[in-house]
């Protein structure tokens, strides 16, 4: 029983980190229905940013998170204005190829600039706490992961309030649902899309900054997370911030419990099997509105 409960606890902790990675995609893909295969690369840029500022200026990632988020917000807006706005009206495949191109451009650009070496954030508050645990009824909860998870929860709360409880958020939702009708009531769709790209990019970069405390920093670091992020957003339901959070927790737990009892190679297979299973009964995902 302890094995099972510990696996659930570990899964929930990882699930919060996955949620942090997926939330940016939930806005760009889930809410605004634009495809972004370069999502993981923005996360990787966040990781490199955290590492770079840690090495060059001695900044803790918890501090560098703020300037990186601002910078990446601008980056996301630029990507929309310079690239995605132009391909948005075309076939969906155009978006796919444009963002796949962006994926290679960013990843290989980082390889060219920094080489493919593995790098590590060595001095930070969270790394100094690595190995420190809280124990509840015999179950271990790692403090650094817990802090990462709490940051994820806080961001989700802010985002949920922004999207669901403000006029601005409603305008974004209106743009996603019916662009022409939104224009009729005075919403500027291009601005909404640009903000969505900015927000999505900034959020995934923040995820990268947090993850840099736990994972090695290298140009290919984003890929494994991107695949999971897509499954999480689809599983949670398009347009649902809360659904994304719950789906991320579910994915973390499924991965963890599977690996506790079955050959670990099955763990991602079970994640996607869960997606198929839920899709059979709720094609729109757990909390999808569309």
């Amino acid at each position: 029983m302890t094995l099972f409960l510990q696996a659930v606890a570990d899964g929930l902790q990882m699930g919060l980190l996955y949620a942090l990675v997926a939330v940016g995609l939930a806005i760009i893909w889930g809410l605004m229905e634009m495809i972004n295969f370069a999502h993981g690369e923005f996360m990787m840029l966040g990781m490199f940013g955290a590492w770079g500022l840690s090495v060059a200026l001695g900044w803790d990632p918890l501090v560098s998170m703020v300037p990186i988020a601002v910078l990446m917000y601008g980056g996301g807006v630029l990507v929309y204005r310079l690239l995605m706005r132009r391909v948005q009206r075309g076939e969906v495949f155009t978006q796919i190829f444009a963002t796949v191109g962006l994926f290679f451009f960013v990843q290989n650009g980082v390889v060219a600039l920094f080489t493919s070496d593995y790098r590590f954030v060595e001095k930070s508050l969270l790394t100094s706490l690595s190995g420190a645990n809280l124990t509840f009824g015999g179950l271990r909860v790692g403090i650094p992961l817990l802090v990462g998870g709490l940051i994820a929860l806080a961001l989700f709360l802010v985002l949920y309030l922004l999207i669901d409880r403000t006029d601005f958020g409603l305008a974004m939702q209106a743009t996603a649902e019916d662009r022409d009708a939104a224009m009729l009531v005075g919403i500027r769709p291009q601005r909404m899309y640009a903000v969505a790209w900015g927000l999505g990019t900034a959020l995934v970069a923040v995820a990268g900054v947090i993850l840099a405390n736990f994972f090695s920093v290298y140009p290919q670091a984003g890929l494994s997370f991107t695949v999971l992020a897509y499954a999480i957003v689809a599983l949670g339901g398009f347009g649902s911030i809360l659904g994304t959070l719950l789906a991320a927790l579910l994915v973390g737990v499924v991965q963890s419990v599977t690996a506790a009892y079955l050959p670990p190679a099955f763990k991602d297979a079970f994640v996607f099997a869960s997606y198929i299973l839920i899709g059979l009964f709720r094609p729109q995902g757990l909390f999808g509105r569309f």
Binding site: S116, E122, Y218, S224
Partner: protein
């Protein structure tokens, strides 16, 4: 008229066929020896690929420039003297760590670029994919750092490997564990857990280790294979912890090893011995990063060379100086040493052959008898068996000390030269933390 047209088509087709055949090169003296360097420069294995590239550039530099005091093949003098001073030119291609891409690029290198020798791909899995193709074209090929034993056991006629394979190197680890008690080591190591990734290299290691563990009288208490690119290994660590092995045989790449370390630290899991084979243990950037936390102190693993002893050689120091011109200041790791040794052997073979004709190159390769004093690595020499595997490539066992450097601990004669006392048991995470803060 119809016959004339048919004849014209046949002539054109013959011309095209001749142009595409690998042997079709302009007659006359060779001015440039083309080496196809097919590597994973982007994608999952890019950190390995870049080290091979730097190694290749180092060898190109050594061959093409005059290093009068450098005692390695083609160190003194410029170019290939056996080919009238012809230069070596690398034709580098990146396969993005993908087997399908590697196959397409290998074919392009042979038929379009008309390389004289193909070196690559750097990973055993992708090398096994291109081997049949290269063999069908009859072009010499080598992968010196690929360690899967199967690469030289399938009967390919055009594949050479100067480096040791995993059978040799994993056997070194188990031989060390067997002999260790007689040299003051622990006598109570009875159980072992295998923790490996899922590709050809890892799985070959796993199979060899499982076989040797059983023969060595170890009880295998866990055998877990993980997917490359894992984002968490917490449950796997929990299973390992429950199995409570004396020895953990771990073969994982740097990214997954880092995930394992974080999860093991959180769980407080530390077996008495962590034994590894290549993967992170061979990656210079991972090794360097461990210095901040003493995260790898006490880890032991197989290595193709006693790096602490080899690095004292004058030739090693000079080659390392050249290597650093290309590696942005990074020192040679053992992967680069294997690759440079192999590529210098290749250059020596081409020089001795005095030709770039495949059959002549194969004959020169078969006649190889290179002595240890010509190498920067401490193989006992280079001499091939019928499968074109170097029989004099040996494995050693090293351990990372509290100084975060590798030290040779087996074979015993080299261990005596190294003068290092093995760390046992593997230090706890708390001890690492305390020591690293001092």
């Amino acid at each position: 008229m119809r016959i004339l047209r048919l004849a014209a088509v046949v002539v054109v087709l013959l011309f095209v066929a001749v142009q595409l055949s690998p042997g079709a090169r302009a007659a006359g003296p060779v001015t440039e020896v083309l080496i196809g360097e097919l590597l994973p420069l982007t994608g999952n294995f890019a950190s390995l690929g870049q080290q091979y590239l730097w190694a290749g550039q180092t060898v190109e530099d050594i061959v093409n420039n005059d290093y009068p005091d450098l005692q390695v093949p083609l160190g003194p003098g410029k170019g290939f003297p056996g080919l009238g001073g012809a230069k070596m030119t690398l034709v580098v291609r990146d396969d993005q760590s993908r087997g399908d891409q590697a196959r397409a690029l290998a074919e392009q290198l042979i038929t379009v670029n008309k390389v004289h020798w193909l070196n690559g791909e750097g990973t055993s899995g992708n090398t096994s994919i291109i081997q049949p193709l290269v063999d069908s074209y009859g072009i010499p090929m080598s992968c010196h750092a690929c360690a899967s034993p199967t690469l030289t056991e399938k009967g390919f006629k055009w594949f050479w490997r100067t480096g040791p394979n995993d059978s040799t190197m994993v056997a070194s680890v188990f031989q060390f564990l067997k002999e260790w008690p007689a040299h003051g080591g622990p006598k109570d190591l009875k159980t072992i857990a295998l923790f490996t990734c899922d590709n050809l290299f890892c799985q070959d290691n796993r199979k060899i280790a499982a076989d040797l563990a059983e023969k060595g009288g170890y009880k295998i208490v866990a055998d877990l294979t993980t997917k490359t690119g894992a984002t968490t290994l917490a449950s796997e660590v929990q299973r390992l912890q429950s199995a409570n092995p004396d020895v953990l045989f771990l073969v994982q790449y740097p990214a997954e090893t880092t995930v394992f370390q974080a999860d093991a630290k959180r769980a407080g899991f530390m077996p008495k011995v962590i034994a590894t084979s290549n993967g992170a243990y061979s990656d210079q950037t991972w090794l360097t990063a461990q210095k901040a936390t003493s995260g790898a102190a006490g880890w032991l693993g197989r290595d193709p060379t006693a790096i602490d002893l080899a690095s004292k050689k004058a030739s090693w120091k000079k080659v390392n100086e050249i290597y650093k011109k290309y590696s942005r200041g990074q020192d040679m790791g053992e992967l680069a040493m294997r690759e440079i040794t192999g590529m210098l052997w290749m250059a020596d073979t081409i020089n001795r052959a005095k030709s770039v004709e495949p059959a002549v190159l194969a004959k020169a390769a078969a006649e190889t008898d290179m002595k240890p004093d010509q190498m920067i690595i401490d193989y006992k020499g280079i001499k091939f068996d019928a499968n074109r595997q170097n029989v004099l490539a040996t494995g050693v066992v090293t351990q990372i000390g509290w100084d975060d450097e590798k030290h040779t601990i087996w074979p015993w004669d080299l261990a005596a030269q190294s003068g290092f006392k093995p760390i046992f048991p593997s230090p706890s995470w708390q001890e690492r933390e305390t020591r690293s803060k001092k």
